[in-house]
Amino acid sequence: MDKEKVQKLAQLARIKISDIEAENLSREFASILGYVKDIGSVSKDTRSVSPESFPVRNIMRDDEPSHEAGFYADRLLSAAPHQEGGYIKVKKILQ
């Protein structure tokens, strides 16, 4: 993987990285992916795990309000870097 490819992936992940870091990562990824590549050699004809071996599934709660509207609002809003009038404030998205 070359450093352009790494920059492209960083773009997808919305992370700003320097060119030097992209170059280091391309070298490190070569070694990590070289190590994980050996899984490709294992036969893909693996039995899939039967549902009985994992009995935990589809645990749902009733679709009804679990608390009064606004009960947690202040607590959660206080964690946001910018807020205004009971809302989280972000920059204008549509110009």
Binding site: A13, R14, I15, I39, G40
Partner: protein, 471 residues
């Protein structure tokens, strides 16, 4: 009487119950120890101001004759476990100023059991690492040798117990992050069955692998804290009950040893010779040891380094500088994300999120993630199958003793290999326990026992036998 900071949980509870000392005295003894020792170790990021008030409350309850499993006992939590009104940063700059909006279920249950939560401990950022060198707030050192790492990612929690700065602590284990530091610091560390302990309020790394568990001085203490933490929780739909995995066979003291897996590269001579003594000791205790074949287990670490970054890249997308935590201004809304994540996340986090983005990207998904999941199924089948023949699987916890600070930071892959023996339990979801098994010089070594899903009880039985604890 033993010095207060040398007491284990069982002894501390007994002393408190009998009124030999108060919770305030016990907590103050540990706070003094932290003052004296933690400057050089760096296990704690913060001592909670609420600790002494919690101790006084515990003393009131003790006076009223209340008896709860953790009442009045100072316990530390890893910096990725939420405690309402207290800071929790996952040792990351991106959450440096975050104050927990709610309690994790683990903290709720510990507090209901009377625990005094004294502070939060350092870890690798977002639990990504095996040495606690990846913390945004500086490394933690091994209290037994300050030139060495305590292991990771829950290195602060391990060092806090090992350095007598608290009686027990909580960590989280995604690929070995409780067991590996437990081994490096000479404590007992438990990763419960996947789903046994609620993950509600644990800052997620890889949701299909993460489990919370205790660091303790004895196996009995591990069991006591496990009993407090475990159980169904409506706030985590993956939690299980005691009935979810019924016992399939009676405990017959039969231990399997994956012999060829133990011949993996990079295992030190001292670990090998210690393991021989461990085998001898189990035999002397009346256990039957048999060699077993697990042909796919050697692929566990490779599968782990696909599944874990894939899940991490998804879980960490929420740290966008909008809803909580650190925010850095860019030119517009999108650039805010780039700036915030670029400087809020440390190097290892950026590395894993980008790697996870790659293995999930179109064109590579099936080759990496798809194949990883198929192989994960195969490894799980293999392990679960073997537990029809043996009660436990025995390995060393780590391939070497604690390494030096800086020794592996330049080569991520060599760091990842420190988890070779611990990762399979997370891949298959089975419980595993690390207990002290000896020393290389002054540095502790650990043995690891794995059991079938839901069979923590067998881990505790064998662990107590090995350490000579009364059952």
């Amino acid at each position: 009487m033993k010095e207060l900071i040398k007491l284990n949980l069982k002894e501390a509870r007994e002393g408190l119950r009998l009124g030999r000392f108060t919770s305030r005295e016990l907590v103050e003894a540990h706070l003094n120890r932290i003052k004296e020792k933690d400057g050089e170790v760096g296990a704690f990021l913060e001592i909670f101001e609420s600790a002494l008030a919690s101790a006084d409350e515990a003393d009131r309850m003790i006076k009223e004759g209340r008896d709860l499993p953790l009442l009045g006992v100072p316990i530390a939590i890893k910096d990725n476990i939420l405690y309402r009104g207290h800071a929790s940063s996952a040792s990351s700059k991106i959450l440096e100023n975050y104050v927990s909006s709610y309690d994790s279920t683990a903290v709720t249950r510990m507090r209901e059991a009377g625990a005094v939560i004294i502070g939060r401990t350092n870890c690798d950022e977002f639990a990504m690492g095996s040495s606690t060198e990846n913390s945004a707030f500086g490394p933690t050192r091994n209290p037994l040798d300050l030139e060495r790492v305590p292991g990771g990612s829950s290195g602060g929690s391990a060092a806090a117990v090992s350095g007598d700065m608290c009686i027990a602590s909580l960590g989280s284990d995604t690929g070995g992050s409780i067991r590996q530091p437990a081994a490096f610091c000479g404590t007992v560390g438990l990763k419960p069955t996947y789903g046994r302990v609620s993950r509600h309020g644990l800052i997620a790394l890889a949701s299909s692998l993460d489990q919370i568990g205790p660091f303790t001085k004895t196996v009995s203490d591990s069991e006591s804290i496990y009993n407090v933490l475990k159980g169904r929780d409506a706030l985590d739909s993956t939690t299980i009950s005691d009935e979810t995995y019924p016992r399939k066979r009676d405990f017959k003291k039969r231990i399997g040893i994956p012999r060829s897996f133990l011949e993996s590269e990079g295992i030190s001579e001292s670990v090998k010779s210690n393991f021989k003594q461990v085998e001898e000791k189990f035999r002397a205790l009346g256990y039957e040891l048999v060699d077993i074949e697990l042909p796919n287990i050697k692929h566990s670490l490779a599968v782990y380094y696909i599944v874990m970054p894939a899940e991490a890249s998804s879980n960490l997308a929420r740290f966008d500088g909008v809803r909580f935590g650190f925010h850095l201004e860019g030119g517009d809304g999108i650039e805010d994300y780039f700036e915030t994540k670029g400087s809020g996340f440390g190097q290892e986090v950026r590395r894993r999120v980008i790697l996870g983005t790659y293995v999930l990207s179109s064109g590579y998904y099936d080759e990496y993630y798809g194949q990883g999941l198929r192989l994960r199924d195969a490894i799980t089948q293999e392990l679960r199958g073997i537990f029809e023949q043996v009660d436990l699987i025995l390995t060393p916890t780590t391939p070497t003793c604690a390494f030096r600070l800086g020794e592996k930071t330049k080569d991520p892959l060599s760091m990842y290999l420190a988890d070779i023996f611990t990762v399979p339990a997370n891949i298959a979801g089975v419980p595993a326990l690390s207990i002290p098994s000896g020393f290389e010089g002054i540095l502790p070594l650990g043995l690891q026992l794995m059991a079938d899903l839901g069979r923590e009880d067998d881990l505790f039985t064998a662990g107590k036998d090995f350490l000579g604890e009364s059952i």
